[in-house]
């Protein structure tokens, strides 16, 4: 296709992507170097018969004025990146000097908002992704062994958790495991502990969100693996059966190598999706004990007083860097393939 024709065909979608995906990333980058204005304070001298006192009050008028004149805020350089709510370099240095054991130091650091969120996000990814692959694969194998006639409805049932939005999915589960819901109440009875509830324990909350993640993402892995299983050639498997290979050996040596490229694909997509975990935290009302990077950004953006654009943007930029690190191996591999293809 000639370049000119290509240009006109591609222009609308290219424009949409540049304007609303490319530019916002740049806009986020710029915003991350600015911070909201401090409130302008003025000294008010108050005199009464007993003498004069000087008090400091917020000058609302001047504050509004400066906010209107420079809505982006004041230039802050990398200040936002290293402040207490982000990388917290100062605090870490302080903790390093003040704490005695390494454990104590780690404890202190992981209490900082950014590191807390990073650790939750990574824990979520580490536990959800492999389990999603495993459960998805087992369901695919299992459904594949069932009579073709009834597979349709079974597949429909299997993919339900995936097609609802994460907020709805987590709410539906939350209402069941809440202390007043069917599962929560029964666990309370079973353990004979009327105070046992999701909100009372950080570990329980994390486990619940991770289980939710596996429940929500496994259908995707299932669908892809199921489709891949249909393409596995029969002859090598029949040969393996004649040679006396066990079922497990057949899966390990024939089926898995065949669908290996698909496994990397699913792992990548699922890792990318898990890294942005955010809605389940709202659905499970777990803000207290579980915060993710995306949730931090959301929290800054719905701030009551002033929207913390700079803070949200700095966290966003670091999230994007995180995504880039996750994507790097794939991009490098694709680039190598592309180079050899030439």
């Amino acid at each position: 296709m000639p370049n000119k024709t290509f240009f006109w065909f591609f222009l609308p979608t290219g424009l949409a992507m540049i304007l609303f995906i490319g530019l916002p990333i740049i806009s986020t980058g710029i915003q991350s170097f600015y911070a909201q204005h401090d409130q302008v304070v003025k000294e008010v001298k108050k005199c009464d018969p007993f003498g004069c006192t000087v008090s400091i009050v917020v000058d609302n008028e001047a504050t509004t004025k400066i906010r209107e004149a420079k809505p982006l805020g004041k230039f802050n350089g990398f200040g936002t990146y290293i402040d207490r709510n982000h990388l917290a370099t100062e605090e870490i240095k302080k903790f390093w000097n003040e704490t005695e054991t390494f454990g104590e130091f780690v404890d202190q650091v992981t209490n900082l908002p950014f590191y807390k969120a990073l650790i939750f996000t990574l824990t979520y990814c580490i536990f959800v992704t492999p389990n999603v692959l495993l459960l998805g694969f087992i369901i695919a194998l299992s459904l594949n062994a069932i009579s073709r006639k009834i597979r349709g409805p079974l597949i429909f049932g299997t993919i339900l958790p995936m097609i609802v939005t994460p907020l709805v999915g987590s709410l539906v589960l939350f209402w069941m495991i809440d202390s007043q819901g069917i599962i929560g109440a029964n666990i309370q009875n079973l353990m004979d502990d009327p105070y046992l509830s999701l909100k009372s324990s950080k570990t329980l909350t994390w486990i619940t969100i991770i289980i939710y993640g596996i429940w929500h993402h496994s259908p995707f892995a299932f669908v892809v693996f199921y489709a891949a299983l249909q393409t596995v050639p029969q002859e090598p498997i029949e040969a393996a059966i004649i040679d006396g290979a066990s079922r497990f050996q057949r899966i390990k040596h024939i089926v898995l190598p065949h669908i290996y490229p698909v496994v990397t694909f699913v792992a990548l997509i699922s890792l990318m999706d898990n890294f942005r975990v955010f809605e389940p935290i709202i659905g499970f009302s777990a803000e207290g004990s579980a915060q993710s990077l995306s949730w931090l950004i959301y929290d800054n953006l719905v701030n009551e007083e002033v929207i913390l654009f700079g803070s949200a943007a700095a966290t966003s930029m670091m999230t994007i860097i995180g995504i880039a690190i996750l994507l790097a191996p794939v991009l490098v591999r694709t680039w190598k393939e592309f180079k050899t293809a030439r």
């Binding site: 065909f9 609303f20 915003q31 459904l143 209402w175 596995v232 694909f265």
Partner: protein, 293 residues
């Protein structure tokens, strides 16, 4: 995999059946339970004293005189203005689907017929864009949108959702157009058609299976979106998902939690129906990228 040679033992068959049944229970029961509970009063579905009330409808009988009540639906849809949210969702979904299919088919067709290097780089860029968490994009939008005073209205959200949706649509339709033989439109070009005419008369009649799949995914994205709609729309223009969240925030009102329950059922039911009808397309869409490479 029905191998003539592969004899499954009965134990394995039983084990397999049990596994599938328990998985389906895990996957579907929460939805069935929520659907059932949405016809009860709050004191039954979120029972402090006895969870069995949700089944026996103890309080629902006392409060309404019937075993099932549609009170939660009536209140959420009218008092809670869920009808407005669903109207907004319909507007957003219809526009997002039609615009992103229009842009996506043109762009993906061009990509699939281009042999230049930049087509590859564009596809890579689209992959990176696909990986961007939506919330980071939203943090980029908010400030400019406030300044331009286009925050809070439906058209802005529609355009943003179309753009966010483009990378996936492009990839999906790109791999679909690759399966349409090049010779088909090349012969039209030789006959003197322009590329646009070839697209219009040769490709358009055969592209519908791919377009339906891409449309379904655009629809699910627009329908299910929370991040963009919650932050870029004002209260008045909220779509269903942010509306459901707003019912959660006001826990003081006794009925509100049941509003959320009935709203969740109302929002999920159409989606399930749709997927039931188009199951094959959904599955083919999810696997195009993966299986073909």
């Amino acid at each position: 995999m029905d191998y003539g040679l592969d004899k499954k033992s009965n134990t394995l068959k039983t084990f397999n059946t049990i596994f599938i049944i328990s998985w389906l229970l895990v996957a579907c029961f929460p939805f069935i339970w929520t659907f059932w509970g949405s016809f009860k009063v709050r004191a039954d579905f979120f029972s402090r004293s006895d969870w069995w009330y949700a089944i026996s409808a103890f309080n629902t009988l006392i409060e309404t005189g019937e075993k099932f009540t549609t009170n939660a639906y009536n209140e959420a849809w009218f008092e809670g203005e869920f009808w407005k949210a669903s109207k907004n969702t319909i507007i957003v979904t219809v526009f997002v689907v039609s615009i992103s299919l229009f842009l996506g088919t043109l762009g993906a067709y061009a990509l699939s017929r281009s042999t230049e290097k930049y087509a590859f780089w564009i596809l890579m860029a689209a992959l990176i864009f696909r990986a961007m968490p939506h919330i980071t994009l939203v943090s980029g939008y908010l400030f400019p949108f406030f300044e331009l005073q286009i925050w809070g209205i439906l058209p802005t959200t529609i355009v943003v959702l179309v753009a966010i949706n483009q990378p996936f649509t492009l990839w999906l339709l790109y791999s679909f157009f690759k399966t349409i033989p090049k010779e088909l439109d090349e012969s039209a070009l030789i006959d003197g058609c322009s590329y646009f005419q070839a697209f219009r008369h040769i490709i358009m009649p055969v592209m519908w299976p791919g377009v339906i799949t891409a449309g379904l995914f655009s629809l699910m994205l627009a329908y299910n979106d929370f991040t963009v709609t919650a932050l870029l729309l004002n209260q008045e223009n909220h779509t269903m998902v942010p509306k459901i969240q707003s019912y959660l925030g006001t826990n003081q009102h006794e009925g509100n939690l049941m509003w959320a329950v009935s709203a969740v059922v109302s929002a999920t039911a159409p989606l399930f129906m749709l997927v039931m009808f188009f199951q094959r397309q959904v599955i083919s869409g999810l696997t195009t990228g993966a299986v073909k490479g």
